[in-house]
């Protein structure tokens, strides 16, 4: 496969996954706002700060809007073309990458990505967002799921498909770590204690934004507790959005591309992903909290960047 094409498939997949995750985060936050609409004193905008912070975009956000309120935050995340990570920008970029790889992906994949693009750039999208932001986010998430399902059902599961998987799982692992980190940025209202009512509702929101609440309930029958949520989202081996699951999947895809056994490595990307894999497989939640949850999640994010760079150097860099 052409190096340029591998690179484009990877980014097409990352951008679609990123659009979906942004929709997830925004949707859950919207729910939280409604839950606390009556209790929250002061500025509801506060509720959007953690989201913007977790995307590491505070200054950029402030520079775009005169009134950085909730409405502005939603616009920033969804349709703002200036924001290269808005849902609209992500889908446009995914489509640009798909356009240059059309002979590699199936027609059905292209049509789905194109439909999503036509929707998100239409007036209908802006109208829907205004009338029911919830519906808008559901539609983006479903659009991404449809794309991923079509990919698995129609594309040859060879090298190109593996690059798509690497993009998807790197992005998803990064996103799950950021969603978990959102909770770190959320301040409890005054008078509320850790482990109290509001705290638990917020942790449930974290699970919901990963479509993880129901799965979590099946594993942990009793109450939602912070360390259990973190444990589930980081080291559960079966949940498809947990960091461990994502790292195992991307490590497997990397090894399939080179044909190297999963206990060995043939390039820097595989060495790094294998190392991260054994780390998330063998670590305990106790170790993580001792290290510091926020610090641990930042380490994960940094190591995912390193894998991305090494993979790019191995397969996509031009001589």
């Amino acid at each position: 496969m052409l190096s340029r094409v591998a690179d484009s498939l990877y980014w097409m997949s990352r951008y679609i996954e990123r659009a979906e995750n942004n929709a997830r985060i925004a949707e859950v936050n919207l729910q939280l706002l409604l839950d606390f609409a009556n209790q929250q004193e002061g500025d509801p905008q506060q509720q959007w700060d953690p989201i913007i912070s977790s995307l590491e975009e505070n200054e950029f956000f402030a520079s775009l809007y005169d009134r950085p309120d909730g409405r502005a935050a939603i616009d920033f995340i969804t349709l703002q073309k200036e924001n290269p990570n808005s849902i609209c920008s992500c889908i446009s970029l995914a489509r640009e990458n798909a356009r240059t790889t059309r002979e590699q992906i199936s027609s059905e994949m292209w049509e789905q990505i194109n439909r999503l693009y036509l929707f998100v750039t239409s007036d209908a999208a802006a109208d829907l967002l205004r009338d029911s932001a919830y519906e808008f986010f559901r539609r983006i998430i479903a659009g991404s799921h449809l794309f991923q399902g079509i990919t698995d059902a129609t594309m040859n599961q060879g090298e190109g498909w593996d690059f798509i998987r690497i993009g998807k799982f790197i992005e998803r692992a990064d996103s799950t770590s950021r969603i978990l980190d959102v909770k770190y940025h959320i301040l409890l209202p005054s008078g509320e204690s850790v482990g109290g009512n509001v705290d638990i509702i917020q942790w449930m929101a974290v699970l919901k934004s990963c479509s993880a609440l129901e799965a979590y309930r099946k594993v942990y029958v009793d109450q939602v507790a912070p360390w259990k949520v973190a444990e589930f989202l980081i080291i559960d081996s079966e949940f498809p959005r947990s960091i461990r699951f994502c790292v195992e999947s991307l490590d497997g895809a990397l090894h399939r591309i080179s044909g190297t056994g999963e206990t060995d490595y043939s390039n820097e990307a595989e060495r790094l992903s294998g190392r991260l894999r054994s780390d998330v497989v063998y670590i305990t939640i106790g170790d993580i909290f001792k290290f510091g949850l926020h610090q641990y999640l930042e380490t994960i994010q940094r190591r995912l960047v390193e894998i991305n760079n090494a993979m790019h150097a191995t397969y996509c860099a031009r001589t």
Binding site: M1, L2, E96, R99, T100, E103, S107, W110, E111, N114
Partner: protein, 490 residues
């Protein structure tokens, strides 16, 4: 029941569907019957079905210098253009004859130049042509084929005679629309298509791949074929990717290729891989900055060296532009007589060469009645349609012709035939059409039945180019003219 064709006007032109007002041509009678049974609502449903098909599939082309966003759908008209079997048979013979002569001409021009020595074509016309590549004199191309893919524009005059308007012997585009238009028609009018026994076009990609494999360097039984595109911002990118996809070959940009030691490789995730045949959709000028335009970032430095050494084949060959020069065009009928000893089956449009003294005076005097064309432009650019232009525009072209006579030719305005098209969301009206069949030259000459019928959707317009407000129709070549009698079994 609305009669879509009740108020249809033939308007003094040759009409593809009606011999006279209300008198349908036999090969269009089934279509007319079908439309008589169609409600306006059904027709609108079909139109929106077709439009949404094109949009979701992203079948678009790029318009340069357009603020409206760069991608547009190529307007598609639902009324097919139907050509009877007999008529097509003649056209086909004419096209085979023409491409054969053009290839012989190119071989001659780049070797012994007997056609110049024998005075059939004046020497200076070749030597002054922009697209003549003297660097390639005495270079032997694989299998002696220069034009592997040719798009020849045909028009019909007031009496319905087919005439050749121009040959596109470099990188003709549009064939993807032929295939996509047919796909759309299959969805929209499945029964109608079957009833007409329309000849299929779907094997174009396979035939094209056969041609490309046929011209591979010797000793390559299983050659690696790629399509070289200028990139995603090129107006025909959709077509490039469509063709690569349907042939199952890689689509590459210049930056994906590297030439070394007289060979060409593509950069892949598994290292460099040798390339044997390049279907290039980049003009000569941009192919190789070491040989042609130094500022080209689209090409591959060293590509021409590999081509010269015979390690990589190019389709079309370098230097074919001399064959579709608009001045050289004038001489194609003479070429046919010279090389083949035959009379041309498809005549040219009469052409005046500004470089000839008597023609020069005639052009300047009659510019208001003529179509003036720059010899080396395409896509409807650099053209004057005298009767539809202002005095100032005509004067401007007079100046241009005076300054560079070799660069201009002129032709009488041909009243192009018209075909019914659904216009402005309201009614069927006659619109001017042309026809671009695609000719493939490999082990044998193959012509996909039909081609791209382009239609000038603006009322009165004679310019069918997509960049100038043109659209297209599906072209139906009938398998046989008389339907089989009742009771015959197949």
């Amino acid at each position: 029941m609305p009669d879509f064709f009740r108020d249809y006007e033939v308007g003094g032109f040759y009409d593809e569907m009606f011999a006279a007002p209300g008198v349908v041509r036999p090969h269009y009678s089934k279509l007319l019957e079908r439309f008589k049974q169609m409600e306006r609502e059904e027709f609108d449903r079909k139109r929106s079905l077709a439009a949404s098909t094109f949009l979701t599939q992203g079948i678009t082309f790029t318009v340069y210098n357009d603020d409206q966003g760069t991608e547009r759908i190529f307007p598609f008209d639902l009324i097919p253009r139907i050509i009877p079997a007999q008529e097509w048979e003649t056209v086909e013979r004419g096209l085979v004859q023409r491409i054969t002569a053009l290839n012989l001409f190119l071989h001659d021009i780049y070797h012994s130049q007997s056609i110049l020595r024998d005075g059939v074509i004046p020497k200076n016309i070749i030597w002054e042509a922009v697209h003549f590549r003297p660097e390639f004199m005495h270079f032997d191309v694989p299998r002696n084929i220069y034009i592997h893919i040719c798009g020849t524009d045909l028009i019909r005059d007031g009496d319905g005679n087919y005439l050749v308007l121009e040959d596109n012997a470099r990188c003709p585009s549009g064939v993807s629309y032929v295939l996509e238009n047919r796909q759309a028609m299959k969805r929209v009018f499945p029964t109608l298509l079957a009833q007409h026994r329309v000849r299929p076009v779907e094997d174009y990609s396979q035939e094209l791949l056969n041609v490309l494999r046929y011209v591979a360097p010797e000793g390559k039984p299983d050659p690696t074929v790629v399509l070289l595109t200028p990139g995603v911002y090129n107006s025909a990118y959709f077509e490039h990717s469509f063709l690569a996809r349907s042939m199952g070959i890689e689509i590459v940009e210049g930056r994906d290729l590297v030439a070394r030691d007289g060979c060409v490789f593509m950069r892949t995730t598994k290292g460099e891989k040798a390339v044997d045949v390049i279907y290039r959709r980049i003009n000569d000028d941009y192919l190789d900055p070491q040989v042609f335009r130094k500022d080209s970032g689209l090409g591959v430095p060293g590509l021409v060296k590999a081509y010269r050494e015979g390690n990589v084949s190019l389709a079309n060959a370098i230097g074919t532009g001399i064959a579709d020069d608009k001045v050289v065009y004038h001489f194609v009928p003479k070429m046919i007589r010279y090389y083949l000893g035959e009379d041309p089956i498809l005549p040219n449009v009469p052409t005046y060469l500004a470089s000839e003294k008597s023609d020069f005076a005639y052009i300047l005097e009659h510019i208001e009645e003529l179509v003036v064309k720059a010899a080396n432009e395409s896509g409807g650019y650099g053209m004057l349609i005298g009767p539809q232009s202002t005095r100032a525009e005509c004067d401007e072209f007079r100046e241009r012709v005076r300054a560079n006579p070799r660069d201009y030719v002129a032709q009488p305005v041909v009243p192009l035939s018209r075909a019914p098209s659904f216009c402005d969301d309201t009614a069927m009206e006659g619109r001017h059409v042309d026809l671009r069949p695609y000719i493939l030259y490999g082990e044998k000459v193959t012509i996909v039945p039909g081609g791209l019928t382009r239609v000038a959707l603006r009322r009165g317009s004679l310019v069918v180019n997509s960049s100038q407000g043109g659209g297209s129709k599906d072209t139906w070549i009938l398998d046989q003219d008389e339907p089989p009698a009742n009771g015959t079994t197949t």
